[in-house]
Amino acid sequence: MSGRHPGRSRWPLWTLLAFGYAFLYVPILLLILYSFNESRLVTVWSGFSLKWYGELLHNRQLLDAAWLSVRIAAVNATVAVVLGTLAANALVRHGRFRGRTGFELLLTAPLVMPDVLIGLSMLLLFVAMQQGFGWPAGRGFTTIAIAHITFSTAYVAVVVRSRLAQMDASLEEAAMDLGARPLSVYAQITLPLIAPALLSGWLLAFTLSLDDLVIASFVSGPGSTTLPMVVYSSVRMGVSPQINALATLIVALVAFAVVIAGLSMRQSQRSS
């Protein structure tokens, strides 16, 4: 939609857009700015300093939690990409199969379900399973990963599904006509074509997992404290400059990853 708008009527819209972006970005920019502040107080600027980064790098508890979170996020993203891609295949390739409505329901609900509901219900399942047949014994890495995979799969399915639906089917048909088996068509034609979606799905699942406080709090056990849990307990004490430093590192990392993903997506769009 590119309407013919006289220039006069555009400026209120652009002002509002600018306000919207300011609303989204000012809080993050302030965190970044104050992560370099020497003072502990948010409102006082007492000089440039990297000391909070130094303290962050010596915060053993936080580093351990971050390492656990990163491992869970990586396992989660990898499994969720497989499951989400299968689900997207089912929705795009298998038409109106029996139980499709239920299938779609199960894939949409985790996107909007409040975290407290997912967390509580997952925990109760794990407790019941442990009572019933002794697995999983206790809670920690495995239970958090399973809980994260369950909701991440729904997000990956959304991303991969839209890419699959937009894909040009003629290449696959050509390969099929030349006698290639469906599985090798999928591996050699389809997967490379949807690779950008798999990458963004993986990154999305990774961040969702790294970010989750509520669900992990329900299904974690003693000795498995994730990064958001550490952040949460320190944030509840009030403003903490170390968290500002951590926020800055996360923003830098995410911006880097998004730019890379964006560039690679543009590249593949150009080549296809």
Binding site: Y25, L86, H94, V112, V116, G179
Partner: protein, 305 residues
């Protein structure tokens, strides 16, 4: 091709089995089954045991099966005003925030959808980017801004607009700000997708027939974007009803919300059955908006086919 059709159909049966079966089983076990277990625990009684609730049934004698169904939790939720108030306030907060997101998000999505084509992707990236950074930390950022000695009060007093600091942090206003801030991208994305798919010739036709731009917006663009409005609104409304982090960090003691209460019953009071009963009521409240969202989505999908 007739020789190839036999292995093909075997492959396609295998592909159906794998593609549909594996995610179905996973989501059935780890998403649907847990919700049924919540329902079952909500009619149990709290007990000093491991796990802390009573069994649903027990054999008390030969051939006598005793089934315990405890409705006390639901009666308590209905009769104790704190729970009822929390549910009503959660719905209210979700409603107000959905409207605020719509009010701010619609013009933003419209501006994006009508912007020059080469700007769209970077502008859209900028909407999505904050969503990729930590939600918890973004909510935390508002503590430093809103607190009495925070940046907002500092700035407002600096320009002489107010004389003494406003108490915004730990009030419901802070919760509104935090929710709109966190959920705005969820409103903008479906609206943007919807608005970019609109046929521009409809607006041209309206203009040719002498319809003024503002009127054309009300009569053509707005009705045609109703699917995007509903989808975006549900993506905000449904999760916000059960939101925990924002009311916990930014809200005050008077900001009763069901997510916070459920957390407290579970982690504070260790009353698993009551927490489950709250979860069941919350789930029941969300079924209607969820079904609405699902139907709109199916309509969009059928329309684009």
């Amino acid at each position: 091709m007739s020789t190839a059709s036999a292995p093909l159909s075997r492959d396609s049966r295998l592909s159906r089995f794998v593609n549909i079966g594996i995610p179905y089983v996973w989501l059935g076990i780890f998403f649907l089954l847990p919700l049924l277990i919540v329902l079952r625990i909500s009619i149990a009684e709290p007990a000093l045991a491991q796990p802390p609730y009573t069994a649903l049934w027990e054999w008390i004698d030969q051939g006598v099966l005793q089934i315990h169904i405890n409705l006390q939790n639901f009666i308590l939720v209905w009769e104790d005003s704190i729970y009822l108030d929390a549910f009503l306030n959660s719905l209210w907060v979700a409603l107000v925030c959905t409207l605020l997101c719509l009010l701010l998000g619609y013009p933003m999505a419209y501006a994006l959808a009508t912007s020059p084509e080469r700007w769209r992707v970077p502008l859209l990236m900028l909407i999505i980017l904050p969503f990729w950074t930590s939600f918890l930390i973004r909510v935390y950022a508002w503590i430093g801004i809103l607190k009495p000695q925070g940046l907002l009060n500092h700035a407002l007093m600096g320009i002489g607009l107010i004389d003494e600091p406003l108490a915004i942090l730990h009030t419901q206003i802070a919760v509104y700000i935090g929710v709109v801030y966190s959920y705005l991208p969820f409103m903008i994305l479906p609206l943007y997708a919807n608005l970019t798919r609109l046929d521009p010739t409809l607006l041209e036709a309206a203009a040719d027939l002498g319809c003024r731009p503002l009127r054309a917006f009300w009569r053509v663009t707005l009705p045609l974007s109703s699917a995007g409005i509903v989808a975006g609104s549900m993506l905000v409304f449904i999760p916000v009803v059960g939101e925990f982090v924002i009311p916990d960090l930014l809200g005050g003691p008077e900001t009763l919300m069901v997510g916070k209460l459920l957390w407290g019953e579970f982690f504070g009071n260790k009353d698993w059955p009551l927490a489950s009963a709250l979860a069941v009521v919350l789930l029941a409240l969300l079924v209607v908006p969820f079904v609405l969202m699902q139907r709109i989505e199916q309509r969009i999908e059928e329309g684009s086919r």
